[in-house]
């Protein structure tokens, strides 16, 4: 088991696609989440959605946030964007540092200026993400003009440019089209073009390929990689698909029921994962052999109205110890760029140090 000081060389990383400009942790941290806690008030009670989420994303890096549906991936993304609002949302603590500034302390007015300009986001369903009664041009020009002082004509040029960046022919026909006149893949490209029109350094992509068919998915992933390489866009990629995470990301964070349970370089986490949940997820992947049954993780996703105490995974964990039910496991560093939150790993671990 590889767990010592020797980092996996970047060129060998899964999906790194030939990129390799030095050691990743030398670079500045663009986005740092530290112990973010968030609740929802619902009709049935309080939903403990985020239970102290911490991870960091470095400049020009793609970090995948993987986990089952309902584990808090999208909530994390929307919290970063400041798009979760309303009387029922309560942020109980933590900080979200973006370029050194705490986003949770910003006013809505300040967030409006950051969104689209510095933080951009695309959503799962490009069909419903675009306003059906306005042309692409009208929607995109509005975004560009909200963040710059460009004239209409200049904004239109910027839009055309960003459409060509995302691989759409810079033709009038797309600009003047209504969303329903485009295919799903084209729509998702438009969304990305819109997100990048103001050169945002960070793109949050929430399941950007899930609503697309498989061939388009591959194109989309190639586009994301090109954006990182050519436009130097850091990305937080939210997906439930381990394959997508493997193909597209430099680093991976695994999320379970509002907790980050493991984070590290993509290959470390996906191939040599240490957390029982990560490994269970991997075991569930279809192997391709016809004889093999699809495996599942016993038990179900916990009810976040009354989440398990201690480690939230312990009721489903085959390695669970007594202390797992009582105390939340701290993040343990198990490699150069690889940390795990698990009592069992800590107890059985050989040369592990606390982070």
């Amino acid at each position: 088991m590889k767990s010592g000081g020797d980092a996996v060389s970047p060129s060998r990383r899964i999906g790194a696609g030939g990129w390799g400009s030095g050691n990743s942790h030398d670079r500045e941290e663009l986005l740092v989440l530290h112990d973010v806690r968030l609740d929802f008030e619902s009709l049935r009670g309080t939903v403990y959605a985020l239970n102290g989420v911490s991870f960091s994303l470095r400049a020009r890096e793609v970090l995948s946030l993987v986990g089952e549906s309902g584990c808090g991936k999208s909530v994390t993304a929307l919290t970063i964007m400041g798009l979760l609002q309303g009387p029922q949302v309560r942020i109980r603590g933590g900080e979200i540092l973006f370029q050194g500034e705490d986003l949770l302390k910003k006013t809505e007015h300040e967030m409006v200026q950051l969104r689209g300009k510095s933080l951009a986001m695309v959503f799962q369903d490009p069909q419903s993400s675009l306003n059906p009664v306005f042309t692409i041009e009208k929607q995109m020009v509005a975004v560009v003009r909200a963040h710059t002082s460009l004239s209409k004509a200049a904004a239109r040029e910027t839009v055309e440019e960003s459409l060509s960046v995302v691989g759409l022919p810079a033709s009038r026909s797309i600009m003047t089209a209504y969303p329903h006149e485009l295919s799903g893949g084209m729509r998702q490209r438009v969304c990305m073009g819109m997100a990048l029109a103001c050169d945002a350094p960070l793109l949050i992509a929430d399941e950007p390929t899930t609503a697309l068919d498989v061939t388009i998915q591959a194109q989309m992933l190639r586009l994301l990689r090109r954006l990182r390489d050519e436009k130097r866009v850091s990305q937080l990629l939210i997906t439930h698909n381990m394959g997508v995470a493997a193909q597209a990301s430099d680093r991976v964070a695994v999320m379970y029921a509002g907790d980050i349970v493991e984070v590290g370089a993509a290959e470390d986490v996906l191939v040599r994962g240490r957390h029982p949940y990560t490994n269970a997820l991997r075991a569930c992947l279809p192997t391709g052999s016809t004889a093999a049954h699809l495996k599942t993780i016993p038990g179900g996703v916990p009810d976040l109205l009354a989440p398990p105490t201690g480690c939230r995974f312990h009721p489903r964990c085959h390695l669970a110890l007594d202390e797992c039910a009582t105390s939340k496991p701290p993040m343990l560093r198990v490699g150069n760029d690889h940390s795990v939150a698990c009592h069992a790993v800590a107890a059985g671990g050989q040369e592990m140090r606390r982070v």
């Binding site: 964007m81 798009l83 007015h109 409006v112 200026q113 950051l114 969104r115 689209g116 300009k117 951009a120 986001m121 959503f123 369903d125 419903s128 993400s129 675009l130 306003n131 059906p132 009664v133 306005f134 929607q139 509005a142 975004v143 909200a146 963040h147 209504y178 329903h180 969304c191 819109m194 997100a195 103001c198």
Partner: protein, 340 residues
Amino acid sequence: MSVSTYVARRLLLLFLVLFGIATITFFVARVIPSDPAATYVGGLARKDQIETAREKLGLNEPLPVQFGIYLRDLLTGDWGTSLVSKRPVLEDIAHFLPVSFQLVFLAMAVASVVGFILGALSAAKKGSVIDHGSRLAAVVGVSLPAFVIALLLQVLFCHVVPLFPIAGKIQVAVADQYPIRTITGMDLLDALLTANWSAFASVLYYAVLPVLAVAAYPAGVIQRMTRATLTETLELEYVRMHRAMGLSRSSIVSRFAMKNALGPVITTIGTTFAAALVGAFLVEIVFSYPGIGSYLVSGIMAMDYPVIVGTTLVVSAIYVCVNLLVDLCIAWLDHRVILQ
């Protein structure tokens, strides 16, 4: 379906509606024991006069024949003669209808603007004092029937604070001094076209209270619809996308969501048009406003059967056409709507 087939189908429905109304009113009118001929001749008629009138009005033929003749007359534009005014009903209607139209159009314009603004404010500032105030105003508007509000307005603005005239559509002195040349029959428009400003001001002044009375109900309904659709729209995914791209809530409401919400609001404007029409009839009576409502009611009082049928037919036709226009408007606004 192409637009022209669609329009053709809807016009067929219009024809069916008119046929239905004509049929219902014809048979109801013939079944009841009242003698149109007696009404035609007047109270103190001799028997032979009534008999002549019966002959003249075709009342001696068997029912189906009468019905056939009646339909033929309707189709050829002979809608009968008012038993009271002794003038062709169509002529009378052409005279009175524009007055009501003017009232209803003004009221719908006021109601649309006020209702839409109040609804948008409500949705943009949900839960605030503005929202509550605007919702209260809407519920009151919806709960006050037009004739009730007309009466209350009269009490308030003609008796308690005498600001506005209690009846009529123009000051008699003004009408004498600056007569309005009839072009469209709508006084306001005619005065405008002939640059007759004194008459224009007077007509507008006399129209204030009636317009308010007619507008209250549509304004309330439009406020509610605008608030509901805007609120719903603001929770949709593409609005979250607009927000994720850094557009502020107020600019999303004013630049994007309004157009999204416009479809249902326009439908509402169309459906409340009917209420406004019927409301206008009653308001006309309260304010002695000489429109088609006053004409219809005087017809009812005199059992003037051609007047009642003619008015009902014309107003229904207008209503069906307005609804058709509304549907076409919505299809034009939202490119995804398929007409069917």
